[in-house]
Structures are given as C-alpha cells and as structure tokens.
C-alpha cells in the first residue's frame, strides 16, 4: 500500500546536491575550475550528508523533509 504523498515533496540538501552537482552539460573551453575538484568535494560531502540523513531517518521515521526548497514548489 502506498502512503499518500504531497504533490511535491521538499528536497533535502542531499537531493539538491544529487541533482545539481553530479550532472549537467560540460562544454569544451577554458573552464577555470576543474570539474574533477567539484566532483571530489561532492563525493566527500555526499558521504557525510548521507550518513546524517540516515541517522535522521532512523530517529524520525519520516523521509524527505528538510529546509531546502524544491526547484518549483
């Protein structure tokens, strides 16, 4: 049985990072910040946030709730 869901759930920082950082078009050219650096930071941060989210969801059995607005609420 599926629990009723709101039309658009609020995204966590982790959701936002997963969408924004891990994806997107890379165009050739003189990109001054290396994408590899961003990816490394993302991976490190992701581990931290995922651990924090797991702790939260264990203590509070509700899932996706945080204080970040979704793309278009």
């Amino acid at each position: 049985m599926t629990e009723p869901l709101p039309a658009s759930q609020r995204a966590t920082l982790l959701d936002l990072l997963d969408r924004v950082i891990d994806h997107g078009v890379v165009l050739a050219g003189n990109v001054t910040i290396t994408v590899a650096d961003v990816d490394l930071i993302y991976l490190e941060l992701r581990v931290l946030l995922a651990a924090a989210e797991r702790l939260t969801s264990l203590s509070r059995k509700s899932d996706v709730t945080h204080d970040v607005e979704v793309a278009r609420d």
Binding site: T2, L5, D15, G29, I41, R54, A71, R72
Partner: protein, 271 residues
C-alpha cells in the same frame, strides 16, 4: 546593457548556468530579466544563448572551494543559487543545465564553446522542451524482499528436503539453503527495482537508474531520474502514488519538478 563587470580579464570569470534557445533579438551582454540574481547575462551565438554571471575568479579558486565546501551553509547557498537561476529559466523555456562550477575566462570562450557543440546542443534542447525531471526513490521492507527471495523454486525444494532429511543431513542442507537465499536476496532487490522502473518509465520520455542502497530496515530498490513531459505528469504522479498497489510492498518518494539535470549530458563523442 553591458555592466562594468562584463569586462574580461582582471580576475573576472563567467559562471555558466546553462544553455537556452535564443529567446529573440537581444544584444550581446543583454541582462536576462526576471531572475533571482540581477546580474545574469546572456552570451549569444547563432540561435543559442548561454546564461552566465560575471564572478570574481578568486571566489572559485579550487583551494578556496575545497576549504569552503566544509562549510555546509556556504555550499548550500551556492548550490541553491545555481538551482534557483536554472529553475527560474526552466519554468518558461527549455534549458540545458551546465555542470555545477563551470567557469570561463572570457565571453569569447563561452561563445566558442556554444559554437563548437551547437548541433548537439540544439538537438538536446529540442528533446527537453516541455519536460521536467523527477527524482524517485523506491523502497521495500526487508520482509517483502525475503518473501520474494524465498519464493524461488530451488529454495522451496531445499526447504522440503530439509524437512524430510535426517538431522545430520538437514544441517548441511540448511547451510546450502542459506547460501542460496543470500544470492536470491540480491536478485529480489534487483527484480523489484526493475519492476518499479518499468512501471514508472511508461510515462517518461527518458529515464536514468542510479545505484541504490539499504536504508535502515527498508531496502532502497530503485533510485532513478525520469524525464517526464508536462502532458504526462498527471499519469506519472498517479503511478508513483499507486506503485504499491501494483507491486505490493513498494513505497515511492520523490522530489520535483526539477530542471533536467540528469538529462543534460551530450551524447558520447560530441564535440
């Protein structure tokens, strides 16, 4: 209007948000209005336009970024800012979001990047027209996984053999069954994920499954992004809400609509 900040060099860089179809006759450096940040501009090239913002390069120096990334509040504001601009544009027109942290040294570099990939950019933009991305996670309770795993014929046969065997033989059969069951559990997770993926993909133009993992006493069987046309979104959301009716035990959670981040990658071999 061209701001002072659009002068190239002098520690200035151009932060790229994404690529859009050129909305109409606009001059170079024309500000894009109605966005969360007033200093957003466009770099136009043929019928394409890059959405950019002049930034101080020092702000995005790799060392600085690495240090500041430990500050979650800073990171959240930067990532949120990136999304806010792209989402605002996405509401009104198709946008191909850029990889977070793409910064160019000068406007000419941005224009050259657009020109170099113009055919694939156009193609990709066309396929994103009127589409939103939805991020979906599907979970199943451990019990549903175990039940599915134990339904396998081989397991059932072993169970019957264990029941009929002498105590000594039953011990070895029991061990054998446990090994079978462990392998079947991985299979059951993959099967449930596949079922959910196919069920939801009925409403999507494109979809992308990502590796999923365990969540507490539930198992995440699917983590995926779906590109859904706004015409099909009603059916898609209805399918999400009723997934557990068709595939018992499954619960879905989702966020969206998002700009098409997961579907912005250009095809392999594109310039």
């Amino acid at each position: 209007m061209t701001s002072d900040a659009s002068t190239d060099g002098a520690g200035r860089g151009w932060y790229l948000y994404g690529v859009v179809r050129r909305p109409g006759p606009q001059g170079q450096g024309r500000r894009v209005v109605g966005l969360p940040l007033p200093e957003i501009e466009s770099v136009e090239q043929g019928d394409l336009a890059a959405v950019v913002r002049p930034v101080a390069l020092s702000e995005f120096d790799p060392d600085v970024v690495r240090r500041r990334a430990e500050d979650v509040a800073w990171l959240e504001s930067v990532v949120q800012g990136h999304n806010d601009v792209i989402a605002a544009i996405h509401e009104n027109s198709a946008i191909l979001p850029a990889k977070f942290g793409s910064i160019y040294a000068c406007r000419d570099d941005v224009a050259a990047a657009l020109e170099g990939a113009q055919d694939t950019l156009r193609q990709r933009l066309d396929s994103l027209e009127g589409m939103d991305e939805w991020a979906v996670r599907v979970r199943a309770p451990r019990s549903a996984i175990d039940e599915r795993a134990s339904q396998a014929g081989a397991i059932r046969e072993l169970e019957a053999e264990v029941a009929a065997a002498t105590p000594g033989r039953a011990y070895f059969l029991q061990r054998q069954m446990e090994r079978h069951l462990a392998a079947r559990i991985d299979g059951a997770v993959a099967e449930l994920g596949q079922l959910a993926y196919e069920d939801l993909a009925r409403f999507a133009a494109e979809s992308e499954a990502n590796p999923s993992g365990a969540v507490g006493d539930e198992v995440e069987v699917l983590k995926a992004a779906f590109l859904v046309s706004r015409q099909d979104v009603e059916g898609f959301l209805a399918a999400l809400h009723t997934l557990g009716d068709r595939i018992p035990g499954l619960t879905a959670s989702y966020t969206g609509p998002w700009p098409p981040y997961s579907f912005a990658t250009l095809p392999e071999g594109a310039p």
